[in-house]
Symmetry: C2
Subunit: 332 residues, 2 copies
């Protein structure tokens, strides 16, 4: 068993001195370092985004947001810095942030964490250019680990051939094509893809990273840009990593005030927000910004670091992939 | 007025497109980049520490910790990653983390934020060696900004001579000497120094960065190492930046189980924790780690990034020193 006891969260401290957890820590650090190096080489500016937020710090699923009493106001633990980053694109251009993302996932299992490191970028570009950034970034991170963390990869018995075979361009299908492939598994157009579907597709396409593009508008974050030729879909992509599932969510963003407002009003997110007694007022600053200053075409993504780690290690259990994996049972 | 409207948190979005806030953002990013560069050059490994924690994620003052309902358990928003970093020193050696630190500070004014970026390191070394790291790190950060962010420094009308004059070694006095200097202001041995005292001292010593060392044990974090010659004080230092106050808290750490347990039991922190219905059980993992595996001599510090920004800018108001300053009134 390659993963040893690394999934143990009950007495995590017993693992701290093992060569295996040291190797996990050192490879995780190298991946982060290489990611930042990529951002520097490509002219991105780091922005410090807030981690206690209004609903503008939530992303797809308001049902998994941690809330807290913030001086008698409702505060949310940030799931994303996206809208904050977006608001800096007109002045700073290419921006990124790296920090904790919180999800109130009640399942303490091999797939769920309540906190993980999220890397996000926003920049003036379109979906195709964004996809190139995702590919180059991931390749840059993996190359750095192969070059600098040989010993640690060996300690974790990582199949390095598998990592060396990651080359751009990655495979790329549309959501509609994905649904066709998955139709005998009962998936219909408009359904969200589940983790097992993502894993099936990655395997189907040769166990390599796979982009799925142009998802239906209704199942994605409200401000993803509507496709001009087919208004039922948005200019978005998810990157599926084999054995892991979705590791990156990416899209062009709406930047015109009226469109943003209209899409927010009819979004699943706003309905969920209202169900937990929140309101659209949380979006005032964001809406006012676009109303007053306008925006410009831009796009961005969020990359879940722990899932990238998992892909690099080739481990089955997310709890083995970071030093302090946090879930319902592992508060430390 | 150099600081312009940068302290405005009511309609922060109105500042996003100003040259001044862009310059703040770019200098903040440069300082972070240079800090990481220093850590890389000196062989530190980044560790991802948790941000929802047990009481082991709190530091000096349990009264300013944000709490949340973490699946019917008490969760705290991390104020520090120190104890988590410390637990990785035996296996990884020099380690660092950079991330948000949360303080439930009710005052929304020029001195308080509820979230700021904290840089922390831990490594096998003593207080003198640690002080050299603090000096070199700060000089490295400032040098990078002077080299790479000329235009932005000019936009903010920063006095660059002041920054160029920051050279190591910094001035260094003991807490006991500080109290003597402050005695006509009513400060007695054993008192904590207030912000106005820190500013007075920095001015008294020529408006330069100033280390104050060897604080009384009772007013500092429980695991700071007791001085062998004078058991009333600990081997600690605060770095005071002129016009700003404390920007770094640093110390050697206790690493022997019995001493840690004894100091924790008599600490102000544990009393405060028990007052908010917490218990020493939160420290089980930390105590068990040292009981089972032992530790080794080590030391570390936390550097408040926003205060370093403030020193670099020479601004009076902390709200002017980061893109999204968070306080009681500015939830965004």
């Amino acid at each position: 068993m390659r993963e040893l006891g690394l999934a143990n969260t009950k007495k995590r401290y017993e693992l701290f001195s093992t060569l295996e957890l040291q190797s996990v820590a050192m490879i995780e650090a190298e991946l982060l370092k290489q990611a930042r190096n990529y951002f520097e080489l490509n002219g991105f500016t780091e922005v410090i985004t807030p981690h206690i937020t209004r609903a503008t710090g939530s992303c797809e699923n308001m049902m998994t947001v941690f809330t807290l009493n913030y001086f008698e106001q409702m505060g949310y633990l940030a799931q994303t810095g996206q809208l904050y980053l977006e608001s800096m694109v007109p002045s700073l251009g290419k921006v990124f942030c790296i920090g904790p993302s919180f999800r109130a996932e009640p399942d303490a299992d091999e797939r769920h964490l309540t906190e993980f490191t999220l890397m996000e970028i926003e920049l003036p570009c379109n979906l195709d250019e964004l996809i190139v950034h995702i590919e180059k970034l991931l390749c840059h991170m993996i190359k750095g680990v192969l070059q600098n963390k040989q010993k640690e990869l060996e300690i974790l018995h990582v199949n390095q051939e598998r990592l060396r075979s990651v080359k751009r361009p990655f495979n790329r299908i549309t959501y509609t094509e994905a649904v066709e492939i998955l139709s005998d598994q009962g998936v219909k157009w408009g359904d969200d893809l589940k983790s097992r579907h993502e894993k099936f597709l990655a395997e189907y396409f040769g166990n390599k990273p796979l982009f799925i593009t142009h998802f239906p508008e209704e199942i994605k974050f409200f401000n993803m840009k509507t496709n001009e030729d087919n208004p039922r879909v948005v200019n978005s992509t998810d990157l599926i990593l084999p054995g892991v599932g979705e590791a990156v969510g990416a899209a062009e963003r709406e930047y015109e005030y009226e469109k943003i407002l209209e899409k927010l009003k009819k979004s699943r997110m706003l309905k969920q927000l209202e169900e937990i007694d929140g309101s659209i007022n949380d979006f005032d600053w964001y809406l006012d910004f676009y109303k007053k200053f306008g925006g410009q075409p831009h796009a961005g993504f969020g990359m879940g670091m722990t899932r990238v780690n998992q892909f690099v290690f080739g481990f089955n259990d997310i709890r083995t992939c970071t030093v302090f994996p946090l879930n319902r049972e592992s508060l430390i």
